[in-house]
């Protein structure tokens, strides 16, 4: 099974990368970008075949390693 994980900054947390991207797009002449945010995207190939078990395990991985829950949110998709 494959897990797709998105890790994004919590609301209100400073996102210097996003800000820089916004800025750079503007400089390159791309108007009309109101806001940019950058996060991480992680793909895992899992041996587990049971969806619930997989979800529980990936959730724990996120809390323990993949996301910094002090400043980041995460979301999990399985396929």
């Amino acid at each position: 099974m494959k897990a797709r994980i998105h890790v994004t900054l919590k609301n209100g947390v400073l996102d210097p990368q996003g800000k820089a991207i916004e800025h750079a797009l503007g400089n390159l002449g791309f108007g009309g970008v109101d806001a940019a945010r950058q996060g991480k995207y992680i793909e895992l190939d899992l041996v587990e075949t049971d969806r619930d078990a997989a979800h529980a395990s990936v959730d724990e991985m996120c809390r323990k390693l993949l996301a910094n829950t002090v400043i980041e949110n995460y979301s999990i998709e399985l396929e």
Partner: protein, 220 residues
């Protein structure tokens, strides 16, 4: 030799580069702010190390698309000798002037230390004062120095003698130990190690000097 050091927001080895150029060549370079893209004609352009634009998104990505780089690309492609060190190397790959990309170090840590290099090709504008195969000690200081290119590109670089410097130890996971490469025409060099930090014994050695004397002796 009239030279220019390009200064991006976030460059931080610009002064070091200027000091080295002046100490070795005797001539003070012009500092060119990234917005002054119509800077005077020069014999030599240096892109210094640092964290231009914070290295956000990808190292060198934003500077590579800045106005001043449009001009640098034009001149470098036209043959003006151009040197990119560390972040400068990353900028050069991001513009496509040099092939490949510099990825996160294999060890994932920033690494600042003296490393042993071999001069792989002493027949370039930048290495003429070294001897082929000479072993030199030069510091690195980077988080993203892991050189990557596909096999065909790597073979081409090797075949054409465009690998200028190779690490003699594992530093960052670079393919084939590549530390610095030139373009096909030989007027552009990008390298991760910092020769400008090794130009006097007080700093730990002088092995970086010959890079600057090479350029000076060829350009006058």
């Amino acid at each position: 030799m009239k030279s220019a050091v390009i200064v991006f927001p976030g460059s931080n080895c610009d002064r070091d580069m200027a000091v080295a150029l002046e100490k070795v060549t005797g001539v003070k370079p012009t500092m060119v702010w990234h917005q002054d893209h119509d800077f005077d004609a020069v014999d030599f352009i240096a892109l210094p190390g640092g964290f231009s634009y914070g290295d956000y998104l990808r190292c060198g990505a934003m500077s590579a698309r800045s106005n001043v780089m449009t001009e640098v690309v034009k001149r470098a492609a036209g043959g003006v000798p151009t040197l990119g060190i560390c972040n400068g190397f990353q900028v050069l790959t991001e513009t496509g002037l040099l092939p490949g990309a510099l990825m996160r170090n294999a060890g994932l840590h920033f690494v600042c230390k003296d490393v042993k290099l071999s001069v792989e090709n002493a027949d370039t504008l930048f290495t003429a004062d070294y001897m082929e195969g000479e072993e030199i000690l030069v510091p690195v200081a980077h988080h993203d120095g892991n050189y990557f290119a596909d096999d065909d590109t790597l073979d081409e670089l090797e075949d054409e003698g465009r690998v200028a410097f190779r690490y003699l130890m594992d530093v960052n996971g670079s393919q084939r130990g590549i530390a610095g490469i030139t373009n096909a025409r030989g007027n552009i060099l990008g390298m991760m190690p910092h020769p400008e930090r090794m130009i006097e014994p007080a700093l730990g050695g002088s092995h970086g000097r010959k890079l600057f004397t090479s350029i000076m002796n060829r350009l006058g």
